[in-house]
């Protein structure tokens, strides 16, 4: 770096900011050539900036590090802060799955093998984060690849799931049995809405439908963040 680095300082700070932003929101390590592609600059340059960023954090005594891991860069907690993170994990984390997450897990458990898109179609919302959490926590895993176009990953429950539930095999789960309508559906039915029993059936079309939002009125549409 040395002298030349000083000249390019102003340019670099923009790139640095962009890289910090991208790495902050990325779930997986980001490959330097992907960054290079996005920034339209040489990979070497990206790598130099990333490593100067990492050095900077270390020098400033930050609680996080920028790590080169698994073929890419990722923000992580600083190893020296492990004790605090452990304390947070043990005491602070929600100790239960949200009802949304539990419902997603139930869908996977009862409908496995099932693709992410199929789960999405049933839930009516994006399930990426939840699926990731369930996978990360070892309750579900990829059990197959859909032979059809797209080769979607098919998820199923894991051994860890069986252990947590205290059952030997998936078929030990209680039968879904006769459908008992919940209060919401009862209310909807009372209001003259029709139940659509076919929804339970998984169809190939469901996957195709996931992409299209049923919302209309394109001109007045407003982007609303939906990353919940």
């Amino acid at each position: 770096m040395g002298d030349e680095a000083m000249i390019g300082e102003d340019d670099d700070s923009d790139i640095r900011r962009a890289i910090e932003a991208i790495l902050m929101v990325s779930v997986d390590p980001v490959a330097p050539n992907l960054l290079a592609q996005l920034m339209e600059m040489p990979t070497k340059k990206v790598e130099a900036i990333c490593s100067s960023l990492a050095d900077g954090y270390e020098a400033e005594g930050r609680g996080f590090v920028l790590l080169r891991v698994g073929g890419g860069y990722r923000f992580q907690s600083h190893p020296a802060q492990a004790e605090w993170v452990e304390r947070f994990v043990l005491e602070g984390q929600h100790s239960r799955l949200t009802s949304a997450a539990l419902e997603t897990l139930a869908i996977v458990a009862y409908k496995q093998p099932i693709s992410r898109n199929q789960v999405s179609a049933i839930r009516g919302v994006d399930v990426d984060t939840v699926i990731r959490t369930l996978q990360q926590r070892g309750y579900i895993e990829v059990v197959a690849t859909d032979p059809g176009p797209g080769n979607a990953l098919m998820f199923g429950t894991s051994q860890g799931f069986l252990e947590s539930m205290g059952i030997d095999q998936v078929s030990d789960l209680p039968s879904l049995g006769d459908f008992v309508p919940g209060p919401e559906l009862v209310e909807a039915l009372e209001r003259g809405l029709l139940a659509e029993p076919d929804v339970v059936e998984l169809e190939a079309e469901a996957e195709a439908e996931v992409g299209g939002e049923p919302e209309c009125g394109s001109d007045t549409e407003v982007p609303v963040d939906d990353r919940t």
Binding site: V25, Q76, L97, E103, C216, V224
Partner: protein, 257 residues
Amino acid sequence: MSVTVSTPVYEGPFDLLLNLILREEVELYEVSLSSIVDAYLAELENMDSCDLEMATEFLLIAAILLELKTRRLLPTDDRFDIDDEFGLWEERDLLLARLLECKTFKDAAVQLRRLAADASLSWPRRAGLEDAFLHLAPDLLAGVSPVDLRDAGRRALAPKPVFHIDTEHIAPIRVSVADAVCQMVDEIPHEGTVTFKSLTEGMVDRIAIVVRFLAVLELFKQGIVEIDQVDTFGDIHVSWRPGADRAEIDLIDVYEG
């Protein structure tokens, strides 16, 4: 004046009404409903699919406008009962209150839109726990029984209600003028006359009687029957026209008056 309904989409039941009244202080009775309908239909054609909600809202707006229009166009009775007059005012005040409320939340929604737009520029970190700490994380399924899971499954897989319009109250019209014509050529004697009352004997449905009446008029138009009404509001006598051939009857599929 011309009301140009140029809004790309009608949204919110009172929006249009609100705009119409506020914009250039539109006099309601000058609002041409047909021009609004035309603009609306043009808009519908531009859309890929019919938005039921939008269509419904439009109908509601049209109904409100129509109601207000008729109220304005009808001459005010000087001997108007004061209670009725109050009722009218109350109704209008209610509408006014609703319009104001609608406007309030409309403006609030604009603010939410701004907040959301600003917030959407910033993405949250979602990477979560690093692998090294995963073993420490408490079992999220602790305390969750298989029955709990089944209940969650039932909730998630329950049939979802779909939008459905109850049309049971709309009686389908099952009688056609063409059918009535066919039936009546057999019922009208070739000699002598028959009364319309007897032709519609036993019919309860008003629409069926109307259709029969139209059928008689149709036969008259085609020169098959003669019609005679002696007294005002008296019974109508129908008789077969001498020399008329039933083969000449032109059966009409669609009656267009």
